[in-house]
Amino acid sequence: MSNQGTIGGPLLEVEDITLRFGGVTAIDGVSFHVNPGELFAIIGPNGAGKTSVFNSISQVYRPQEGDIRYKGESIMGKRPDAVARLGIARTFQNIALFGQMTVIDNILTGRHIQMHESWFAGMKWFGAAKKEEMANRARVEDIIDFLEIQAWRKYPVALLPYGIQKRVELGRALAMDPDLLLLDEPVAGMNLEETEDMARFILDIRSELGISMILVEHDMGLVMDIADRILVVDFGKPIGTGYPDEVQANPDVIAAYLGEDFSADAGSAAGF
């Protein structure tokens, strides 16, 4: 995928975004950037606003302040489908597959922006629409092979086990041929083996397909192992950013995850 206009520049720049729901400030001045080919992670305690950052990037939510630039162009105010057409794909924390459709149809729906035949051509079927369907169906088979879900091809996704559903959702996002992939808790609720499989897929996506990724995840082992850089948010505010070892040593991050050090003055301030 081309990346002209910002050669050498970051793929995605998030600049000081603030998102409020009435009196609640979900995101409060978060800034970060993602370089081409980078695996960037966002971590933070529950309710810190990680998923809200994702929803802001895909413009499902509209931040009131700040700017989000993708390949140097602001995407603020665009509709979610327009953002998708720019090359940003995502998965969801609570799987959002199309439950009544089969695995093949789900992944083919991911090909929507790569296909162009109209409803009229589709109803006619024979000719251009059929040709396009067959070509994209072949592409879907590549993704099915890549994610090793051949056995479940024809099943309606609602019937599949959780781990497989997560993989199908990843496949649906990959089918969009994105330049940037947002992964919202890809290993949540998975056992060790499934987590390792998923980590393998994520690393393969980066090395074989060259797709940049932003990862939101609670599994610290996974994040520290595979992420290039990490942003830590707490109560909507950014509290640290850097390489994994830097973040691990950051006292603010430790405080957010493990609580304040029970020092003398903290104790007296709390009334003990």
């Binding site: 509709r79 979610p80 969801f92 459709m101 083919l108 729906t109 409803w119 629409a129 059929k130 369907e133």
Partner: protein, 445 residues
Amino acid sequence: MAFGRPLLRTSYAEDAAILPTWSQRGALGVAGFALALAALGVPFFEAIPAFLLGGTWLTPFNTMLVFAVAALGINILVGVTGQVSLGHSFFMGVGAYAAVLLGGDGRGGAACIPFHEQLGLLENTTRCGLGLPIWIWLPASGIAAALVGILVSPAAVRVRGLYLAIVTVGLVFIGRHLGNMLPEYAGDAESGRRWPPLEFRWWRRTDDSGDAFITFDEKGAWFSWIPGTDGITLSDDQKAFFFYLFVVIVATVLAKNLMRSRTGRALQAIRDRDVAAEVMGVPEREYKRLGFALSSAYAGVGGALLAVNLARVGPPEWSLFLAVDFIAILLIGGAGTIAGTLMGTFFVRLLPKMVERFTEKNADLAEGDGPVSTIASLLLTDGSRSDFGPIATSAQATGWPLPVALWNFVIFGVLIVVFLIAEPLGLFGIWLRIRNYWKGWPFSY
């Protein structure tokens, strides 16, 4: 072409085929052929439908075929796109009136006088109509309904669920009101107006004898031009059957193609997860509008054919009850599936006719002896105090026992509830279970 191994597919095209296996193609072909022979009145083939529905079985069967066209439309909107609509009868009405304004017989000079000039003189005026041929008015009825669908979509795509249902109910009442206000176009509530006949002409009718080169609307011979024969003499119902069957087949194939192509998947994606669909690059409102337009186009064609089929129709025909019938068809047949929609139409339209027919038959049976008569006499009653039973046979019966027509309402109400709870995929789901059982037979899976 793996003839003996139906599950072995060797190309993506085979995998995407509408009828992927030879057994499906064969079964449908044989069924279609048998149906055509039955419609032509071939004794052996006609025996079953004549037994179930009576000698004039083609009349309700033709109406069923027309309903199938409109039902395929509501399936696109409610079953595929997931937008609950109770306004289907409104769009059917739009299509029907487009058909009658373009195709209705407007000769007589006084046609299309503006409403305000006609007040008080309604009896004396000819109904409005341009007398154009079917190849104009039938597509135009679909296009007109689709345009009206697009016109109301700005309101409809912004609401969902119950709110959308209420908005679309509003359409039905607006339509009824317009129909009552404009009797010179719509026909008045009691007598309605005549719809154009099913006949092919090149252009407008020029004389009373008609200059149609083929007609589906009158008893007469087909193929009489073949030298040495008199052709086959067919009734109007028989001829119309072939026309409706053709329209249903075309409508089914188009709907099936839509379902298996990019657009159909986008519509289903909106039904299953609208936010995820948008994030996949599907513009939600545009596709909802498209779903509305396509569904309305089917409704328009179905409505036009329904009016033609009934011959004389007034504004009350396009009521909320008609729209609810279609919801029943979807829920009983299986929302979102083409085969289910057709099964649902068959069930909802023809089962009541069968029940009615057997009640009539059994009224005679109840007079005789034997177990059948005992059951029949237990169920049926003429409404007198000495005769108990839940089904009234006399037309005058009011209150309990209920007459057959009301029992049909009760049965469908109960069926909708049962299907919603026990089998959300409807008749199609039951068919799937049966099929999967025999696929694995004698193993359980």
